[in-house]
Symmetry: C2
Subunit: 230 residues, 2 copies
DNA sequence: TTGACAAACCTGGTATGCCAGATACAATAA
DNA sequence: TTATTGTATCTGGCATACCAGGTTTGTCAA
C-alpha cells in the first residue's frame, strides 16, 4: 500500500452565491429589526464591494432571501429588510405549532427511548427548586431553543426541519422577547416536562396535543401582549 | 371631462425573471416526471433562446426553482429536474396533514357558517347514490383538489397557504395517481363529509383530528402501494 | 423665500463576454 | 483491440457594461 497524503476534498460546492447568501442571511437575522424604528435598506453595489464579489452573486443571494421573506426589492427603489407584522408573526407561530405537533406524533411512533431520554438532559440544572429559570433567563432561553430544535430533529422528518428553519428565526426572536413576561419561563418548563413525559409514555395523541397547545399559547400571548409589532 | 383611452396599467412588476420563473415552473410541474424513466436536463442557453431573453433572468428563475426543490444544478454538469423519493413524498404528505389539520382548527374558530356551507357545494353531484365517484374519477379528482384548497384558504392563515403551495404540486400528483386504487375515491368522499360535519358543528378537536387522519391515511397508502417511487 | 423644473445621479434589471471545470471523442501508443 | 491521453466543446459561475425608471439636488424665476 503506497503512502498517501491526507487531503480533504475541496469545497467545490460553496459558490460565491452560496457564501453571499449565508453571509447576508446571517447579517440580516442577527440584527433585531424590531428594535430599529426606521426601515433598513440594502445596496447591491455596496454589498458587492463589502463582500469583494461582483453584483451577480449578490443578486442571486438576494433572490433567495426575497423568496424566504427576509427582504423585499422594489425596482429602482432599493432592497429593504422586511419587518413582519403581528398578524404574520402569529400565523408563523401557528404553523410552527402544527409542525412541532406533528414532530411530537412522529417521535412517539419512531424515536428510540434513548433519544427521548436525551430531551430531559437539555433541562438538567433547571429542575431543582433552588435554580429557577427566572434567575437565568439567557441560559434557560438557550435550553428552550435547543428543546424545540431537538423535537424537530428527532421526528426524523427532514421536510419539517426544512420548513421550520426560517420560521424558527422569527419564532426564536419572539420567544426571547416574551420569555421574561408573565412568568412564562416557569410555565414553559412545566409544559416541556409534560411533553417529554407524554413522549416517554408513547402517548401519541397527548404528546401531539400538548406540543400544539404549548406553541398556540405563545401565539395567544403574542396576540395579547406584543403591541410593539405593527 | 376630456375623453380618455381605456388603458390598462403596464405590468411593471413582472420582470423577465418573474415571467421566466412562472413559465419554467409551469413547464416543470406539468410533465409527470415520475412517468419518464430518464432524468430531465435543462440548458440555460437553450431556455434563454426559447423564452427570448438572456441567460440572466433564466438563471435567477433557476435559483428560485432550485430553492423550491424542483431542480438541482450541478456546477458545470447541468441543471436537472428533481425526482422526489418515496421517503420525501411521504414526509411532504405528513407535513400537509399537519398544516391542513391546523387549517381545520382555524376554520372552526374563525370561519363563517356561510363559508363552511360552501364546502358542501364542491361535492354537489357526487352524493346521490346513482352518481358514484368511481364512474367519474377525473371530475371527482378535481372536486377533491378544490376541497383541499378551500380548506387551506378558509383558514385565513396566509402562511399556511404559502407553505402548502409547493407541497400541493407534489401531493396533487400523488392523489391523482392513487385515487383510482383501493376504492379510495368512495372512502375519500366519506372522510370529506365527516370533516365538513365537524366543521359545521365547530368541533375543533374532531375537525382537526379528522383532517389530519384523512391525509395521514394517504401517507400510509403511499408507503404501502407506491413502489414505483424510488 | 418659495415653487417649479431640469439636470445629475442612483438603483435594480438585463445582456453579454470570459473563465474554469467537466465531458465526449478522436488520436495514439501498448 | 484496448487503455490512455490530448483536444474540442459544452456548461454553469462570475464580472461588467448599459439601460430605464426613480430620486435627489440645484438652479432660476416669481
Amino acid at each position: 500500500m503506497t503512502p498517501r497524503l491526507e487531503v480533504k476534498p475541496i469545497d467545490t460546492q460553496s459558490s460565491f452565491r452560496t457564501q453571499a447568501y449565508h453571509a447576508l442571511k446571517q447579517a440580516i437575522t442577527s440584527v433585531n429589526i424590531y428594535a430599529h424604528p426606521h426601515e433598513i435598506r440594502l445596496d447591491e453595489r455596496q454589498l458587492s464591494q463589502d463582500l469583494g464579489v461582483s453584483r451577480t452573486p449578490i443578486r442571486e443571494a438576494m433572490t433567495l432571501l426575497e423568496q424566504e421573506g427576509f427582504v423585499k426589492t422594489l425596482p429602482r427603489r432599493g432592497i429593504f429588510v422586511v419587518r413582519k407584522t403581528k398578524r404574520e408573526i402569529i400565523e408563523m407561530i401557528e404553523v410552527w405549532a402544527a409542525l412541532e405537533s406533528l414532530a411530537a406524533r412522529l417521535i412517539t411512533l419512531h424515536a428510540s427511548d434513548a433519544e427521548i431520554a436525551g430531551l430531559r438532559h437539555l433541562f438538567d440544572g433547571f429542575q431543582e427548586n433552588g435554580h429557577s429559570p427566572e434567575g437565568h433567563l439567557d441560559e434557560y432561553s438557550d435550553a428552550n431553543i435547543r428543546f424545540h430544535q431537538a423535537i424537530i430533529k428527532l421526528s426524523g422528518n427532514q421536510c419539517i426541519a426544512d420548513m421550520t428553519e426560517n420560521l424558527f428565526i422569527h419564532v426564536r426572536a419572539i420567544r426571547q422577547m416574551t420569555i421574561g413576561q408573565d412568568n412564562r419561563a416557569a410555565r414553559s418548563i412545566v409544559d416541556h416536562m409534560k411533553i417529554i413525559e407524554a413522549l416517554e409514555r408513547r402517548d401519541t395523541e397527548l404528546a401531539e396535543k400538548l406540543a400544539r397547545q404549548h406553541t398556540l399559547d405563545l401565539a395567544a400571548h403574542v396576540e395579547k401582549h406584543c403591541e410593539f409589532l405593527s
